[in-house]
Symmetry: C2
Subunit: 555 residues, 2 copies
């Protein structure tokens, strides 16, 4: 059977398949917002496309629509006022189930080709989506472009590649011929059909409405399922643009667009009814522990892929690149005001200080030097505004204020409020650094989402490594780091992270940061500690989203 | 790194890998108990080895032993009186966790080689294991040999092959080099380590103590986990022999044998404490809905792979091989007295009867003819005893008596009690066939494990197909069948089974039976209906049993 879309995007798929196998660097979508790649007018066109949504009703032509709803508040303080269709979740589920029939019959190759076409179309909309991500999440422009568009697309493509690898391994048919000694063999023809488990729901988060949505969305879609995207109430637009494009591409290719829909739910009870519906068989969630645990406890009819809170941490033992280490950490803490699920919250420093190429640094010196590095990095307002972005939620503002008050530990670096001339109403905050003792577990041993980090005084490096392991095992983490010039310390930290099952970054001092994970190469989450029960992406992320139904008969 | 055991068994692994990809017929272990394959003295040696266990203490040298326990009652009525070590489950878990370190360090290739060696050693013990299976489960000899030994080993090897496919896809390391325009590239070295999720518990069943245990056992083991086998209280010996051999092979190869242990638990509370232990991360279970659902509800710390009850069913629309169809069904209903999770329980026949090559057969004729076919098939005592085996549990005897009383439907064929001259105390029963109306849902729409089947009168074929779909969707099934000479009927049944997610056998009239599934080719369970949330075997069966922990650093 000819698969024109699969043929069209074959090189992209092959590149992704090679990349997930080698885990070397590879990229399908340019992370530079360059006119050479995206077209001379792409930046301007994308901005206009974004602006055209403002103050308008975002038509999706979905079934069961009962009204409109908006309410997104931009962290940059601009007026969004986009209205989205409110649709009965039962109608969306029923329409999705109906659409699954044609989607299943298309087969894995047809579905994969269509997913690749969708990703290409989303890539062409990168500027529009980047503006939508920036203005709903508070990310700085460059991050909104990269993480919101090409990097999110890469994570989606990665999921499609894993899904294709697993599905293409299942033969469509087989002839089974069992010898019977001197008698004629038993011969059977067998057919194997891949069938999606059911409707998938992807619950988006307010900070990364595409990067954390595309993996589950494309994993569920590629494996034959309908998908309902339930965006965060304050980051609907990037999801709505995505869903509209997907629906268009589906319809253009003869697939019922109701296969993918947007569920804007004003009330928690609607979301709860959606995710506990018997027809919903998978839920992808990124967010806090309270709702995440509720999903795991209550959505027993579905497989729940959950990325929850964690306490990311770094052990500082010694370094031969003190300044570069501080610079690396400062960037990582400042990026998007620490509103990343991968930002380090606890930095463990031995009470006796650390050895560096500039000689011994006491614990207090490390605190002061890191504070100085953050301040120096953010000294230029244009750098600070570009890197920090804006604070996404009032809850984060409250947490910053609480940390600033000294209630959680000694303030080593107070958070500052910056003015953004372009966006006067933007809430911009610089990171707050706190010093505390390892015994102050209540302070640093729960996630305090936002630009709040603790420099924790620990008895010694061995205690720091043990503490890191205990935190990851009990509270979870997506990232861990170690700085040391001693092989035995790195070995001990490696062993600890193998036990606690967290990704480890060692002596980062250049252009790679602990809070960044690269598609195809870095697993985002291991699925083995409380911060996440799944990983972007691996076989486990896709293999349980479909079943194989066989039939057999004699020939 | 040299992997002598992997090299030694490379052809076996390659054969299995090819088989799971093509799903054509393939076999690693001979299903014929032939002296040419197993050795001239194998049958005699195996029988002696089995007999040597009787009345003895089965030494395993496990930690935390507090006493001995036996109590197996042979369905054949012979005295077993084997005593097994009772060990503190906490001690077994702690020892398993300890042993996991060395097992993880061995790497996927080393683990796979050792699993293949274990399987080869188990294969060499096929006669001993077959006798143990026969005498604990009541299976007939040939079935005990085939299903209990080589076929179980194939299912274990299948799981090892899937585990190897997924693990070998993960590179041990990668060099990640990201271009930076005119600047030097970012270069990182990354290491990827496969780490098992934790201790796996495999809860065995009383009817297939190896066939239903080996898939989970080898899937968990190959992916880096410790495994505790918790056998059914009446089928301990096959599991104990298996565990002892595994422990020996592990020890011979420098791996802590406590990686795999046997947990004989006299009290339900001990089993519950074992399976809910925080260190237990996977549970493989085959058995009834009550305990299965308890596991799913209570073992939230673990992934539960459960094969539960179902209502397997067959739709009879029409046939051009009436006699052969009846013969095929008769064999399937009689085999091991219907004590297979794949035996058909409900046979749907249109009220208007069915068309055959011998002309029209009324519903009543079909009932009488199937009863006649079962009786004829079992007419020769030596055939009957070999096929029926013995009834495994008193609960099944009670269910047969209830069915025989006519309480569940009109008795079309009463169950008969046969004498087995070789085993005078064996409880041997022929199948009972009941006729009932489709409206009598309470009778046929719950699993009645054992040789009890219903010939259900349904309005017409379309109603039968709809009923089959509803039963599979709501009560689950591992197998479904259709007999029809009409393509549109087969298409409708195919569509129904794709929706309800159950394997379909079409017009079986020869030497393949609906209740048989062949390793590498037939998926046992789809994982998509209530009878089982997993399949033997596919990627989903192995992918979630390990995580990948990475570390990265600049070079």
């Amino acid at each position: 059977m000819s698969q024109p879309l699969l043929d069209k995007h074959r090189a992209t798929l092959d590149g992704a398949l090679n990349a997930i196998q080698t885990r070397a660097y590879w990229s399908a979508y340019s992370e530079m917002p360059s006119p050479k790649v995206y077209g001379e007018t792409a930046a301007e066109d994308g901005k206009k496309a974004f602006e055209a949504h403002l103050g308008q009703r975002f038509e999706l032509d979905q079934p069961g629509q009962s009204g409109w709803q908006g309410g997104e508040q931009s962290p940059y303080g601009i007026t969004l006022d986009v209205q989205y269709p409110v649709c009965d979740h039962e109608a969306l589920i029923a329409a999705g189930q109906q659409a699954m029939n044609g989607w299943q019959k298309l087969g894995a190759a047809g579905r994969t080709g269509l997913c690749l076409e969708i990703l290409a179309r989303l890539n062409a909309q990168s500027f529009e989506i980047a503006h939508a991500v920036m203005m709903t999440t508070g990310q700085g422009w460059m991050m909104a472009f990269q993480a919101g568009a090409p990097h999110a697309q890469e994570r989606g493509l990665e999921a499609v590649a894993y899904a294709w690898r697993e599905q293409s391994f299942v033969p469509a048919e087989a002839t089974w011929e069992k010898p019977q000694g001197k008698n004629p063999p038993l011969v059977m023809k067998k057919h194997f059909e891949i069938v999606g488990h059911g409707v998938g729901v992807v619950v988006g988060c307010g900070t990364f409405p595409t990067w954390n949505t595309y993996p589950g969305l494309f994993a569920a879609l590629a494996t034959g399922n309908a998908v309902i995207v339930k965006p965060h109430g304050n980051a609907i637009l990037p999801a709505a643009i995505t869903v509209r494009t997907i629906r268009r591409v589906l319809a253009e290719n003869g697939i019922d667009p109701n296969l993918v829909s947007l569920c804007v739910a004003g009330q928690r009870s609607t979301t709860q009814a959606l995710v506990t519906h018997p027809a919903v068989k998978s839920i992808d969630f990124t967010g806090g522990n309270v709702f995440g645990q509720w999903l795991i406890d209550n959505c027993r009819q579905a497989r729940v892929y959950a990325e929850l809170a964690g306490v990311n941490n770094i052990v500082v033992d010694s370094t031969d690149s003190y300044k570069r280490m501080l610079g690396n950490l400062a960037f990582s803490l400042a990026l998007y005001s620490g509103q990343m699920c991968t930002t380090s919250q606890a930095i463990f420093v031995p009470a006796g200080g650390v050895e560096t190429e500039d000689g011994h640094k006491s614990y207090d010196e490390v605190c002061a030097d890191l504070a100085g590095a953050v301040s120096a990095f953010l000294a230029k307002p244009e750098v600070a505004l570009a890197v920090l972005g804006a604070v996404q939620s009032t809850d984060t503002l409250k947490r910053i204020a609480e940390a600033d008050s000294g209630a959680l530990g000694k303030v080593v670096l107070a958070s500052g409020k910056l003015d953004n001339p372009e966006f006067p109403k933007a809430e911009v905050r610089t990171p707050v650094l706190l010093a505390c003792d390892a015994a102050d577990e209540k302070a640093y041993m729960e996630e305090r989402f936002g630009p709040i980090s603790f420099i924790v005084k620990v008895a010694d490096t061995a205690a720091a490594i043990a503490l890191s392991e205990r935190i990851v095992t009990t509270h979870g983490a997506l990232t861990a780091g170690i700085y040391s010039t001693r092989a035995e310390v790195i070995d001990a930290m490696t062993a600890a992270t193998l036990r606690s099952k967290v990704a480890l970054s060692i002596n980062l001092s250049g252009g790679v940061f602990v809070n960044q994970s690269a598609a195809y190469s870095d697993y985002h989450g291991t699925g083995g500690n409380p911060a996440a029960n799944a990983s972007y992406a691996d076989a486990a992320f896709v293999a349980n989203r479909f079943v194989v139904v066989q039939r057999r008969y004699h020939i």
